[in-house]
């Protein structure tokens, strides 16, 4: 392994192509940490945004006027404002209003750190889109199917969980796929509130080494591969869920 790493140092000396995150141990650890943070943040946000989408779409069909209004208000607020502004809002506005706790170094710090705020704000952002995506799927389920279930004595929750949602899921997958891909890319915004994800670490490295071009190319490829893995997984899932003769 070290031989390969050393080769990149020679490459730099010979050609000027500088990839310090391969031959410099410190930079390499930074880049690996950044990569893992991006994956961690993406997974957390993917999970919660889908949960928000499913729950939100269910609440949209609620019999209570105010529940529907709140869900719609949430969608308008988070879908119609830029995610970067939301991040700053959560981190600098809400974050400083929350109570503080004693920290390890003898000071007072806010309860939630930058990673937590990034996860919350990006989940809400993508979640707002997911609610609408799931609604589109639910509305695509024929009314007669739901009526048939009602006639069989299913409760409202049972119909949503066992009939509407599973059918809707197949319809929404392409749109959901799109939104989740977008979400993974949007995690780069978290660098604005100093979450040490890939873009953030790359920025530190190119600031120290003045190798902007190389880092940009690397970043582009890294995200291409990362999103490619997600898309591959989603496509497999889509195929696995396929019902012959439906959709």
């Amino acid at each position: 392994m070290d031989v390969i790493f050393e080769w990149f140092r020679v490459l730099y000396q010979e050609t000027g192509i500088n990839l310090p995150f391969l031959y410099d141990e410190y930079d390499r650890n930074r880049m690996v940490d950044g990569f893992l943070t991006t994956i961690r943040l993406s997974l957390v946000c993917l999970f919660f945004s889908v949960i928000i989408g499913v729950t939100g779409a269910w609440l949209q069909g609620s019999a209570f006027k105010w529940t529907r209004r709140i869900v719609n208000g949430y969608i308008q607020l988070f879908r119609n404002t830029p995610p970067l502004v939301q991040l700053y809002f959560f981190y600098f506005a809400i974050g400083t209003l929350l109570p503080r706790v004693e920290n390890d170094w003898g000071g007072q710090s806010p309860i939630l750190g930058s990673f937590a705020w990034a996860a919350i704000s990006l989940s809400f952002f993508a979640g707002a889109f997911n609610v609408e995506i799931f609604r589109s799927g639910i509305e695509a389920v024929p009314r007669s199917t739901v009526e048939a279930a009602e006639a069989l004595g299913f409760s409202k929750l049972q119909i949503y969980r066992d009939i509407t949602l599973p059918l809707a899921f197949r319809v929404v997958l392409p749109a959901l796929n799109n939104n989740l891909v977008n979400l993974v890319k949007t995690t780069t915004l978290a660098y604005a509130i100093a979450v040490p994800e890939m873009l953030y670490e790359a920025n530190q490295i190119w600031s120290d080494n003045v190798n902007v071009t190389e880092m940009m190319i690397f970043l582009l490829l890294a995200y291409f591969v990362l999103v490619g893995v997600l898309v591959g997984a989603m496509n497999r899932w889509e195929r696995a869920m396929k019902i012959p003769g439906y959709g």
Partner: protein, 268 residues
């Protein structure tokens, strides 16, 4: 037909690229033709370059830039830059000259042209709550320390003293995060921190450590602009000789720094 179009487009691209390179050959000509000197300065670094209430960029470095424009007999236009983009702005020709609190380092001299002698100097220190009682750099080990993206001392502070750097885009975010308690300290240039500790709003904070990495600042022009660089060298010598730097420090409320005094002695 389409092919012909392509050829026309390609030709015009090549021609404009050639025109671009000849225009780059002597930026002094371009500045005089344009009638404006475009200077990259900091807009968040009191008192070296910051915004006044009406939104104009003012401070020591904008004043220095104005001197250059006066010498050339043109107007001056300020472009706010930050540490992580200032060298790219110069490379891309978005600015003619950069006076933006940049530490002069050998690897930067490969990217931009830094004329000698240096015009200023500062070191690295931290801004921290007095109640934390930090006394040495090793006290930062394992603690989150706010910083600015693109500052060269981020790496040193985490590598040598074990601090976990939390770097933000601009100083406003870093100061805000420090106040909110997201970091134990803010690592930055001592010259800026001194100005902050004099601010009543930051009365609970101090600059407790020994300044490290005292390093000179360089102003810069694009690579290959030798005439402009030569002119700037003469200008900097003149600034030191006439005591212009000392005068500006006094004007903007900074105590005269040892570097500025020594340079004045040397060239007077």
């Amino acid at each position: 037909m389409r092919r012909k179009h392509l050829i026309t487009i390609a030709t015009s691209l090549v021609v404009s690229a050639l025109g671009f390179t000849t225009a780059m050959a002597d930026v002094l000509e371009t500045i005089k033709e344009r009638g404006t000197l475009i200077v990259g300065v900091k807009a968040d670094y009191k008192p070296y370059g910051f915004l006044d209430p009406s939104g104009d960029v003012i401070g020591i470095e904008p004043d220095l830039a104005k001197d250059v424009a006066d010498k050339l007999g043109v107007d001056v236009e300020y472009v706010p830059v930050v540490s992580s983009n200032r060298m790219q702005f110069l490379e891309q020709g978005k600015i003619d000259l950069m006076i933006a609190t940049m530490t002069d380092r050998p690897d930067r001299r490969e990217v931009v042209l830094i004329p000698d002698p240096n015009y200023y100097s500062s070191g690295t220190n931290i801004l921290a709550l007095k109640s934390l009682g930090l006394t040495k750099w090793e006290d930062l080990r394992g603690k989150p320390v706010c910083g600015i993206q693109g500052a060269f001392y981020n790496k040193a502070t985490s590598q040598n003293y074990g601090a976990e750097i939390v770097a933000f885009k601009g100083t406003a975010e870093a100061y805000s995060a420090l106040k909110a308690g997201n970091c134990a300290a803010f690592v930055y240039d001592d010259s800026a921190i001194v100005a902050k500790t004099n601010d009543p709003e930051w009365a609970d904070y101090e600059m407790p450590l020994q300044t490290i990495d005292d390093a000179p600042w360089g102003l810069a022009v694009a690579l290959g602009e030798d005439n402009f660089a030569q002119m700037m060298s003469d200008m900097i010598v003149d600034w030191h000789k006439t005591g212009r730097i000392l005068e500006l420090e006094t004007k903007w409320g900074v105590e005269n720094t040892p570097f500025a005094k020594a340079m004045h002695e040397e060239y007077k």
